[in-house]
């Protein structure tokens, strides 16, 4: 089932979704994407860079956010544009939550601009690896 333009309302939250970031997924992303930066595979390299353990690729997190969007839209063709700011690292073994809300609607082109984000709960506080980022989608 895919979402339709007439279902959208400015200001409404989209149904959020969470995913555990495993070491295996991050390694699988390195192999599938070709980004073999050791920061994303080797705890010692990550610690030398000042992180507690292996950091997920920014593009792993953006890719996961995109999957959440596309699975909600029901069709990759509906996604026209996506722009994200990476504001904090994501570490393996953390759970990331993807969410967003409708910022504006254009009935003539049947396009919507969405505000999208990725949140992690870390040490009892909310951390935002991606925030104030934007997607443009076109719907039937």
């Amino acid at each position: 089932m895919s979402v339709r333009f007439d279902d959208l309302e400015v200001g409404r939250d989209l149904p959020s979704s969470s995913r555990l970031v495993t070491r295996e997924d991050v390694k699988a992303y390195a192999d599938a994407s070709g980004d073999q930066n050791p920061l994303h595979q080797d705890d010692d390299v990550a610690r030398a860079a000042g992180f507690p353990r292996v950091v997920a690729h920014g593009m792993y997190t953006m890719g996961t956010l995109t999957s959440w969007l596309v699975d909600w839209l029901g069709d990759p063709a509906a996604l026209l544009r996506l722009r994200v700011h990476f504001r904090a690292p994501v570490f393996v073994d953390e759970s990331i939550e993807c969410g967003g809300k409708v910022r504006s609607l254009d009935p003539q082109s049947r396009t919507a601009v969405l505000e999208v984000w990725v949140r992690v709960e870390r040490d009892g506080a909310d951390v935002w690896p991606i925030r104030k980022s934007e997607a443009e989608v076109r719907l039937d």
Binding site: R19, D25, A28, Y29, D31, A32, S33, G34, D35, N37, P38, L39, V45, A49, H57, G58, M59, Y60, M62, G63, T64, T66, S67, W68, V70, D71, G74, D75, P76, A77, L79, L80, R81, L82, R83, V84, H85, F86
Partner: protein
């Protein structure tokens, strides 16, 4: 960090990418896409090969991969990517700016199909951490 003045605006050689089914499935599993269709961020694959891989071996820039962080990323898609096609990506260094101890490198990448039509364009801001 001294910089040769001709870096901005320079373009790296294009890179070809075959969108094969097994690679797409592995990518979709890694990013958790459950529904049908090629994950839109598959264009990251040729983008990295056309851009980042050249940047970290460019003697004019002298950038070490382990010092590179991703600051921003934008994609615009003209159409969805399909399995079986061959894409060609080419990257241009749009700007290089020093900001304190950091260097910001903005790369623009165009991903085209066999007919030369634009499939997607990307813009990456790379943050290179300094020695301090």
């Amino acid at each position: 960090m001294a910089l040769s003045p001709d870096v901005e605006g320079s373009t790296y050689p294009p890179v070809r990418f075959e969108v094969d089914g097994s690679r797409v499935r592995a990518f979709a599993d890694a990013v958790g896409q459950r529904g049908p269709g090629v994950p839109p961020t598959i264009v990251t694959v040729p983008e990295i090969a056309a851009g980042l891989d050249h940047v970290v071996s460019d003697p004019r820039l002298g950038i070490e991969l382990s010092r590179v962080l991703h600051g921003e990323q934008e994609y615009r898609w003209s159409r969805p990517v399909v399995v079986g096609e061959t894409l060609t990506a080419s990257a241009t260094i749009e700007s290089v700016r020093d900001k304190g101890e950091m260097r910001l490198v903005v790369l623009g990448t165009e991903v085209r199909d066999e007919a030369g039509a634009l499939v997607a364009s990307g813009r990456s801001t790379l943050i290179v951490r300094g020695d301090g």
